[in-house]
């Protein structure tokens, strides 16, 4: 009996999660990096708590972007190296379905995990608990958008031997609006003003990339397979 697109996506997400939990070091690496980078700032700058709180949104977002980048390289690379990507392309499911499932699984183990540990970091940086909801929402939207942007970059660089540097060069400029509006939203929440405008912009970017990035990433992967 034929397998539907939804079942195929579920299967791929389960496979990706299973693989991630078999290699916990890959799962923990971006999280530990996130924690260490955000800890280095207050140690290096010796700031007063008020000054630290002013810088905290930017520090948090830069660290989150860089941590997310760490795991992007492996999004399609290992599948391309061991021949799995070819098998997935010939699975009878559209390659776009596979790309969507893999990107969502990547976000679950990298972006969503970062969002979950961010209150710990935020507390250390002096962000008040009242700002946590906005911060979590903005980071959730931002990391999901970054995963989609990263899928395009990973698709373009999957055939290159040292593609991770090029991947960063492709993705980081595209991620600048995320940094500006994500840090802005958190900053508004810290200062007690409305963050709605920045959050709406982040949500719009997220919808835009969710809609178009799967097709762009699929096209990029097809170039590699050809």
């Amino acid at each position: 009996m034929k397998v539907g697109a939804w079942q195929a996506m579920t299967l791929v997400v389960r496979r990706e999660l299973c693989l991630s939990f078999r290699r916990p070091e890959q799962l923990l690496q971006p999280l530990v990096f996130f924690l260490i980078v955000t800890t280095l700032f207050p140690l290096g700058l010796s700031l007063q708590l008020s000054a630290l709180r002013d810088m905290a949104p930017g520090v948090l977002w830069v660290a989150a972007l860089l941590s997310s980048l760490l795991s992007l390289d492996s999004l399609f690379k290992s599948d391309a190296d061991d021949g799995t990507l070819e098998q997935l392309a010939l699975s009878g499911q559209g390659l776009t379905v596979i790309v969507i499932a893999k990107t969502l699984a990547h976000w679950l183990v990298s972006g969503a995990a970062l969002v979950l540990v961010s209150p710990l970091v935020a507390t250390a940086l002096g962000i008040p608990p009242e700002a946590f909801a906005t911060m979590l929402l903005s980071l959730g939207l931002g990391t999901l958008t970054l995963s989609w942007l990263g899928a395009i970059g990973a698709g373009l660089t999957v055939g290159l031997r040292r593609g991770n540097v090029l991947l960063s060069l492709i993705v980081l400029p595209l991620a600048m609006p995320l940094l500006i509006f994500g840090a802005g939203a958190t900053d508004h929440a810290v200062s007690g003003t409305s963050a709605a405008g920045a959050l709406y912009f982040l949500a719009a970017l997220c919808v835009f990339t969710c809609t178009l990035a799967p097709f762009a990433a699929t096209a990029a992967l097809r170039i590699t397979l050809d």
């Binding site: 034929k2 397998v3 389960r14 299973c18 190296d81 021949g83 098998q87 699975s91 009878g92």
Partner: protein
Amino acid sequence: MLKGVSLDLKPRELMHIRGPNGTGKTTLLRVICGLLRPEQGRVAWFGESIASVRAEYQSALAYASHEPALKADLTPLENLRFMVGLKRRVTLPELRQSLERTGVAACADLPVRVLSAGQRRRVVMARVLAVRATLWLLDEPFTNLDSAGSDLLSALLAEHVNDGGLALVVAHHDLQLAAAVRRLELSE
């Protein structure tokens, strides 16, 4: 890379593709399975271009490339469940049966990383069996197999072809099968 190649395959036929290194045997298989688009000419399945019947064609084919496409951190059973599961609904007993058929049932729950190259090749053949595809495209399937493994693979190929299947096999050595074998020799 490839010029003037024309072939057709009917049910109950196996085509053995041979040729020196670099003559495009793997490229030909990749073109036939649809991973590469030919600059000229076309690949057809029941008379229809494979691009127009992509889903139907892909569900009817099983491709085993040089790379085993197995995840070292997963067990053979998990590898099969995730890859075969994308092609058709499959149960664990069915997958165990395929692994048993290729002689690796004892390794079904071990991580692939501890398996030898020959055992991995047998897991790949179990995947090909479990897919229940009409068309088998096998690229050097005898690599790393011992004599018992080679005999088993030959028997599986003959069984598949005699049951009405089609197979295209790239292999360096002669195929001795209890089935009709056509040969295609590629040259530089």
